[in-house]
Symmetry: C2
Subunit: 174 residues, 2 copies
DNA sequence: TTGAGCATGTAACACGTTACATGATTTC
DNA sequence: GAAATCATGTAACGTGTTACATGCTCAA
């Protein structure tokens, strides 16, 4: 139930936003490590509210509803963070494919690895730009300083993948 | 449809195995980057066979069915590898939680990061042991040398996470 | 006044997980 | 003969994706 808790956490840290607002913030931050669609997000907001973990704190034009966490919601978030352990990530299609590079000609396998390396390099640049564009002192979206630590993870992840792809290229027809 | 192609690829590289055999091999190799349950695997074997991408090559005791890839299956694998691009991994609950460490006391946040660092360290050791236990020269399970490249990824991944967790610990109450 | 962006939701389907269910063979 | 392991499958449920559907408000 990670989306549930991710969304709950977002509302705890950034209250007074609509589903629409939350979706935008989600895409820029949490979405990098836990993607969700608009449908899913609205559905989960309804469930969280039905379960009393969040509540509508005000209504605006165009049916806009702003959310805030309830005490029960805060308890649930804390429980999730301190009493349960995250399940390890175990879905990476790009690496899955690596197992089958042996069925291709060396040229094609190298193309694949080169492309993966380039993707990682671009990903690194994007995250570095995102980092530079954010004002960590005045944190407009309320996610600093933990967001900075997550972003650092992303940068290291991309760098690691770029380096690995370069190493892997050397392994094929050395 | 990554499980579909992962399984297809496995049957291409390692033919003449039963669903049960494939499940064991899967858990030790592909399962690290694309987990699947027994149910899912048997279900997908049925679908792959129904679609003519694999076929039962022999039947044994206890209802055992051994599979092999058809020419159409090989084509499909190659198509997947060369004409489509993998979608980036975007589900990591451990990093998702990092965004909310700010809602905890510094002590608890540090506990979390310390635990993540230790997990990564243990993961690294396990993969190094797995690496040492495999005979890459005579590759019994048919996944070398690409399996070695994937394993190297896993080791770098774990090392990166360990180092990141250590860095992150220093960021909290510096 | 028209288009961009705000704002919410539903329905159908695909994929994944958990639990159950069953039985044959081999090994001790 | 009991236990471990081999071996395959189904059913119910939960999660995630895609596509559709609708309408308001604000700025140019």
């Amino acid at each position: 139930m990670s989306l549930r808790h991710g969304l709950l956490g977002l509302i705890v840290e950034v209250p007074g936003r609509s589903g629409y607002d939350l979706l935008k913030i989600f895409e820029l931050s949490l979405g990098h490590v836990w993607s969700a669609t608009q449908s899913q997000l609205y559905g989960e907001l309804g469930k969280l509210a039905a379960d009393g973990l969040i509540e509508v704190t005000s209504e605006g034009p165009r049916g806009r509803k702003e959310y805030g966490a309830t005490p029960a919601g805060r308890d649930e978030l804390r429980h999730w963070l301190t009493e349960t352990t995250p399940k390890p990530a175990n879905r990476d299609e790009a690496i899955l494919r690596v197992f089958f590079l042996g069925t291709l000609e060396a040229d094609q396998a190298r193309d694949y690895l080169r492309e993966q390396g380039e993707k990682a390099a671009r990903g690194h640049i994007e995250l570095a730009e995102l980092d530079a564009s954010l004002d960590w002192e005045h944190d407009n979206d309320g996610l600093a300083p933990a967001g900075r630590i997550a972003l650092e993870y992303g940068k290291r992840y991309m760098a690691m993948r770029r380096e690995w792809a370069e190493w892997a290229l050397e392994q094929i027809e050395p």
